[in-house]
């Protein structure tokens, strides 16, 4: 007994070290698995608040650019409206909350954005109070950004498409061939499209859009264009590099999209396709 105590006292530093190390390794492993990292997160009051405060000060630097983006988007939406001949009564006074289709949209601001790691997250300044829930899609006017992973009252954390756990269903715009969008962790402007069958006629410059199979994103949201492609190792699927439309290193305002039919859909189809 005496010897055991002596041993413990002699090695108390090592034991303490191993104990804390196992705690932190547990947290690390948890952070690398999708939908499990709940303990250590920047959505808490302190870090979320600090990021919010920093972003408040920094956002003035980007005002001009964000204005230009908004005008550009408005221009596009206007041209859609005028060419669709939708009646005025429909256009006027239908804000996002009273809109009766399956999709509702909430705008939010990105207050923290990572892109230099292999598992990146974004932090939004809206949370449960504004109706944001886990598993909603996040886009900008240029394309997709990620999927909401966790929300608190005032903040939500988004699993960026620049994350090794991200897998999003997309398709080629011209040919309806579906594939999965993943990221190899190297270049924040290039993501990889896998599982596109060999039979698809892929060309450089082809547009890639969301597939709409998963009900997270509506169908037809732009993703990027084919930058480079080659046949994979087993010669039956293409490995395609996609140049994103979005500049993932500079995201200002985003839209969080909720599909109200999603729960119904996931009841019917329990496959884990994102």
């Amino acid at each position: 007994m005496q010897q055991i105590f002596n041993f413990l006292i002699r090695h108390k530093n090592t034991i303490f070290f191993l104990l804390l190390l196992s705690v932190s390794l547990f947290l690390t492993v948890q952070s690398h698995s999708y939908h499990k990292s709940k303990f250590v997160s920047s959505t808490n009051f302190l870090t979320g608040g600090l990021y919010d405060w920093m972003n408040d000060m920094g956002s003035y630097l980007h005002l001009r650019e964000y204005n230009d983006r908004l005008v550009e988007e408005n221009e596009y939406l206007r041209s859609l409206l005028f060419n669709e001949n939708i009646e005025d009564s429909v256009i006027v006074k239908t804000d996002s909350t009273s809109f009766s289709g399956p999709f509702s949209v909430v705008s939010a601001k990105v207050i923290s954005n990572n892109y230099s790691k292999t598992d990146n997250y974004l932090l939004l300044d809206r949370g449960k109070n504004e109706g944001i829930k886990a598993d909603l899609g996040v886009i900008t006017n240029n394309g997709i950004v990620g999927i909401v992973e966790e929300t608190t009252k005032n903040f939500s954390r988004v699993l960026s498409i620049l994350n090794s756990n991200s897998a999003i269903n997309v398709r080629l715009k011209k040919s309806n061939h579906y594939g999965t969008l993943v990221w190899n962790g190297k270049n924040p402007n290039l993501v990889q499209l896998t599982y596109v069958p060999k039979i698809a006629n892929v060309q450089k410059g082809d547009t890639v859009i969301t597939g709409g199979k998963s009900f997270v994103f509506p169908e037809g949201i732009p993703v990027g264009i084919v930058h480079d492609f080659q046949l994979g190792k087993n010669e039956s699927y293409y490995d395609i590099d996609i140049q994103l439309f979005n500049d993932m290193t500079n995201i200002g305002h985003v839209y969080v999209i909720e599909n109200k039919n999603k729960q119904e859909f996931s009841k019917l189809n329990s496959s884990d396709d994102e």
């Binding site: 108390k12 530093n13 090592t14 303490f16 070290f17 804390l20 190390l21 705690v23 932190s24 390794l25 547990f26 947290l27 690390t28 492993v29 948890q30 952070s31 690398h32 990292s37 250590v40 997160s41 920047s42 808490n44 302190l46 870090t47 600090l50 990021y51 920093m54 990572n114 892109y115 230099s116 790691k117 292999t118 598992d119 997250y121 932090l123 954390r157 090794s164 962790g185 190297k186 270049n187 924040p188 290193t249």
Partner: protein
Amino acid sequence: MNSAVFLNIARFVLLVLLQGLVLCNINFLGYINPYLYVLFIILLPANLSPTKVIFYAFLLGLCIDFFQDSGGVHASACLVAAYLRPVMLQFSFGITFGHQTLKFKNTPFSERLQYVLLMVFVHHLILFSLEIFNAHHILLVLKKTLFSGIFTTLLIIFTMILFGKKTQ
């Protein structure tokens, strides 16, 4: 004694805020970030008990993890650096460090540089291996460790020179 404790607490808070809000967003050339907060572990008094050093390092790493959404990556890296600190102190400054109070600013520059380099590279190697967590990307780990390590070391040396003078 009290002023030393106060100085260390202030340094802790300052480094965490600086790291979380500014330095993690530099992304020089896309992926190179300095991790200046290791300076806290480096500058802890040499005669502080190893248990305390390990505990403070864990807290420091966890704070950065909260900012970075990275689970326990920084905490693990800090822990390993703190655990190996006595060995590195001994290796860099010789065996006498434990007996009298070692003042970092009174040591020769080469010894100090050696100590900083050892601490930074051990910390960065663990940090990036756990952050990337994929054996296929081992080259990426080494590349990030090397470049971020150089950046961090430079910044630490500059900080030590800049703020070391004032307290003399």
